[in-house]
Amino acid sequence: MNPDAIANVAMGLALAPLLFGVINRVKAVFAGRRGQPLLQPYFDVVKLLGKGAVYSRTTTWVFRAGPVVGLASALAALCVVPFGGERALIGFEGDLLLFAGLFGLMRFFTVCAALDTGSAFEGMGASREVQFSALAEPALLLGLAAAARRTGCMSLSGLFEEASGMDPAAALPVFSLAAMAVFIVFLCENARIPVDDPNTHLELTMIHEVMVLDHSGPDFAFITYGAAVKMWVLGALFAGLAVPFRTGIHWLDAALAVAFMFAVAAATGVVESTMARLRLLRVPHLLAGACALSAVAYVLLLR
């Protein structure tokens, strides 16, 4: 066990909700408000953990398993993704697929829990979530495949390590294309604005929010915290692809990576403040564009 990797996982666990705090603060500044405290997401999670959960009589164990499995897969993904030039806690050949699969598992259980309530609204959200993720997943996998082909490594840790030693101009085309695709996937998977509006409370327009309407108390705390960890993990992947270069000094790399994560959060806040949510029919176009970016990255390597 690598102590630095454990420290990275601990840092992810501790700092993940702060990303939401930063996004909310950026949005507040854009709107001319003072905004909630930066630590509000932590307060929310603690408050929710102290409450009791209410379960509908029509739900089964699937409904209760949803938040738990969701958080567990987010935590597992956190262990697989390398951060700040350090190898991940768990790394083996082919962990790219595990990484994508963990998000699939998380989504599957969230969707099942939503369907389990029997609510029409939640079913609608579930259907939209599945439709969009069916397009986001190829973009993620193709982007990762292109990066893997460029570096010749099938594991995330090896891939990032190999990329850090490359000539910038040689690595730039494939990695920037893959990074752009991953950023769109990042926005889609985290239910951020061009795809989904995290603030809306109108059921007809919600996607992710509507699926978790019936969860309460500790379950909802798990979901909120799991979403934060998921955002951290995908942000770390984007950071690794967008800026694969390392200084070689351990603490500086880690500090730069953390700074980049919060820059990504701030950029997400800017996107949310300056863009309107896309019409539901237009979202597949955006995701198809992400797939196309990944496909170009891959096709360029086939020469």
Partner: protein, 215 residues
């Protein structure tokens, strides 16, 4: 230098993929204009080691005409004809993007099969990017309904030929270059007038309906 040219080529390819996916006519015009500017930069970069005033002037001229004059002319034609802003494609956006990826694969294959006299001057992506741009231009011409889109397709096609010329031929006679530039200028000018006339005659610029004309 070769790596930067490669990045420029990838930008060219990305613009090719963006063009059929854009839903607004003016965005299409601007994307084609940006492509023209990129090609000017490409000319400068490709001749960076032996940059003569002639090359610089030609590149600057083509950038000015393609990047500034054409968009202004087309915007004016659109405003004069009161065109609706949407592209109204025959082929949907997602299908278009998928078609673009397929065209990219085809042009990469063709690029490998097409031997250049000097091996492409260390620009392995140049020929595929040029072929891709030409194919995209043709695709836009056949898959879009509006006359403005067809002008954009024609411009994109010309951009592809220009890119091919920069790589394959390198030094071109200034007279030939200027002649080509003048030709496309006149063509865009005439097409602008044609769009206006079509619109005045038929109240729309749907080029599809032209096939119903009888002498």
């Amino acid at each position: 230098m070769a790596a930067w040219i490669e990045i420029l080529m990838i930008l060219l390819i990305l613009l090719d993929m963006v063009l059929p996916g854009l839903s607004r006519l003016s965005a299409c015009v601007r994307a084609a204009a940006l492509q023209g500017v990129l090609l000017g930069v490409l000319t400068l970069l490709a001749n960076f080691d032996a940059l003569t005033p002639r090359v610089a002037v030609l590149a600057g001229l083509s950038m000015a005409v393609k990047g500034f004059l054409f968009p202004v002319l087309l915007e004016r034609a659109m405003k004069g004809a009161g065109v609706r802003k949407e592209v109204e494609p025959f082929v949907g956006y997602v299908t278009s993007i998928a078609a673009c990826v397929a065209m990219l694969a085809v042009s990469l294959l063709l690029g490998q099969r097409l031997p250049l006299p000097d091996g492409g001057q260390g620009m392995p992506l140049a020929v595929p990017a040029a072929i891709m741009t030409m194919l995209t231009g043709l695709f836009i011409v056949v898959s879009r309904r509006k006359a403005v889109s067809q002008v954009v397709g024609y411009l994109t096609f010309e951009n592809g030929i220009y890119a091919f010329g920069v790589v394959a031929v390198g030094e071109v006679n200034a007279l030939v270059e200027l002649g080509v530039l003048l030709d496309i200028f006149v063509a865009v000018f005439v097409m602008g007038i044609a769009i206006y006339q079509i619109n005045r005659e038929f109240d729309h610029i749907d080029a599809d309906h032209l096939s119903m004309l009888r002498g």
